[in-house]
């Protein structure tokens, strides 16, 4: 079992503090959902875990099985087992999806022990088939000209090919129609199990109709303010966030503007 521990995490962007002391512990074989109103720092948390160059951790710790994640470069975090499905994945012209994925897989293997092309293609075909992606998408340039839904599917394809210990899914459901949402959820559920932990960030409860979380957390004003089981998500869907604010005595101050 692996454990990702976030302790009292404070994160700023351009000198503005967005996260004001986040605490969270994830184990493999668990699926966590983070919900909350817009601009409360959910995506900032995702970016800080992966090491986005614009986000500065001012205090607190993130550890993966005791190893200091914040000391690691972005690629080292990935090598250690972290994965972030991004809300807005970059487009990279001239690099095919297949070549990119093969580089990603080989980056985890020793020189001379690269994955054989045949084996790679077999795996890729299988997973693309599972995610109902047309074969030609492997030869298209990475995310270039992909629709919003295709990009999200492609993030899940990468997740399934790379098989990380922990995946953070940043609004994987945004902009998806029902059919695409079902396919993306199918991919995540396929990953579910021993050796895999997941942190899903979402605005909407509807994703949780397809992927039942073990734990639900509510973020407001840069902190996790409430945690519970999947019933918490249902209550949020029915009643909104006001009852939590009331319960915790949170006043609506200036909403935090969040960068994607």
């Amino acid at each position: 079992m692996s454990t990702l521990v976030i302790k009292d995490l404070h994160v700023s962007i351009e000198d503005k503090e967005i996260l004001k002391g986040v605490n969270l512990t994830l184990n493999t074989n668990e699926i966590h959902a983070i919900m909350g109103p817009n601009g409360t720092g959910k995506s900032t948390l995702a970016s800080a875990i992966m090491g986005h160059p614009k986000y500065v951790v001012t205090s607190g710790t993130i550890t993966l099985d005791g190893e200091d994640v914040l000391e690691m470069e972005v690629d080292e975090r990935a090598q250690a087992g972290l994965f972030l499905a991004m809300q807005y994945p970059s487009e990279i012209a001239g690099v095919t999806n297949a070549d990119f994925l093969r580089s990603a897989i080989n980056s985890r293997r020793e020189e001379g022990d690269e994955i054989s092309i045949m084996k790679f293609i077999r795996e890729l075909d299988k997973k693309m088939d599972f995610l109902e992606m047309p074969e030609e998408m492997s030869q298209r340039y990475l995310n270039e000209g992909f629709s919003g839904g295709e990009k999200k599917r492609n993030e899940i394809l990468q997740l399934m090919m790379i098989q990380p210990k922990f995946a953070v899914l940043d609004e994987i459901d945004s902009g998806l129609d029902i059919d695409a949402l079902k396919v993306v959820s199918k991919g995540i559920n396929e990953m579910r199990g021993e050796g895999f932990g997941c942190l899903m960030i979402t605005h909407y409860q509807r994703l949780l109709n397809y992927i039942t979380p073990d734990h639900v957390h509510v973020m407001m004003q840069g902190k996790v303010v409430k945690s519970g089981g999947s019933e918490l998500a249902q209550r949020l869907e029915a009643e909104g966030y006001d009852w939590i604010k009331k319960e915790l005595g949170i006043e609506d101050t200036d909403a935090i503007t969040e960068e994607a």
């Binding site: 992966m50 090491g51 690629d75 990935a78 994945p89």
Partner: protein, 433 residues
Amino acid sequence: MTVETKLAVSAQDVRSFSEAHNEPQWLTELRERALAKVETLEMVKPDKTNVDSWNFFEFPEHKVEGKAISSLTELPQEVQAIVDENQQNLFIQHNNTAAYLQVSEELKAQGVIVTDLFTAVQEHSDLVQKYFMTEAVEVDEHKLTALHTALVNGGLFIYVPKEVKVEQPIQAVFYTDDENTSLFNHVLLVADQFSEVTYVENYLSIGAAKGQVNIIEEVIVNDGAKVTFGAVDTLAEGFTSYINRRGETKRDASLDWALGLMNDGDTVSENVTHLRGDGSTADAKTVVIGRGKQNQNFTTEVRNWGKSSDGQILTHAVMKDSARAIFNGIGKIEHGATKANAEQESRVLMLSPDARGDANPILLIEEDDVTAGHAASVGRVDPLQIYYLMSRGISRANAERLVIHGFLEPVVSQLPIEGVRKQLVEVIERKVK
């Protein structure tokens, strides 16, 4: 101001050279006339780079003999890597000597001519005379075109007759391995009406160089014909290069260029296509890597003369170290070219703070009923792209490599010969390291 031009060769040398090669009288006379003009003509004037002080005129030898070979296994490793033994149509020039020629029986039967320039002027004198420095490039444009005409010392002639479709690409390799070699090379490619051909060439130097490169290539695409032209230049630092690749397209003709311009020395490269015929099209793609202390100037121009003609320009360049380069992209729509379209995109990726790369897009439009557009940018590698790739476990160095290869992919993917494509990828790899 006229620049003083010291020439290593005299009129007598030029005449002797021509006679020694049994050239027809028209060429001997053309050479002499051209030489006489070198002194008085203006220097070439690439936009935004002053080349007046560049040494285009001094060189050790007019002709350096190479060795003819009977088997590809005799070639140096560097050349073997880019030719395939199954290549059916192949020309190799070693220094200034035609070293090897293989043309398929099928092409010969169809009347396709592929032969070195010296043989061509003897065996197909009228045909060469009709197109050599007449339609595409003129002798007296400037000093260097005249100098080229006077001193031409190698090259290739390709003629594809009417309605012949050449299925396999024709490949040419011009390589030098003697530092005294200069390339006054001329390639003349004529595709007659409704013919189709793909031509791919490499200019390659092994070891050091101290000569001149003054290359002119003319591509004539007659009515309804289609030419795909690929080139990879990897000439050594010691060469100062003037390389002029020019096309003429007639009615409904099309000409696609894919140029990998990877010389290590100071280079002036111009690639101009005149869309003369109505409905003709050109797609000029160029990729460049500048490194070291290189100073280069690249002009890609497509000029629309014909109605409904379509010109596309794409230039992607990577600049590192303290290299400097100007990228002139010129779309010009002439009066009367109604419904013409001129599009261009120039992108320069800077890898070093000391490098300089200027994209200089120019649109000149003298007709109302047309469409045109341009996009130009100079910038660094996008940190978010690198972050994205690294978040999948790819190291920073490899992430940058992937982005650069992807950036230069538009030309790599257009090269139809596997060996040449691989070679360009390797050159890119080596140069950006």
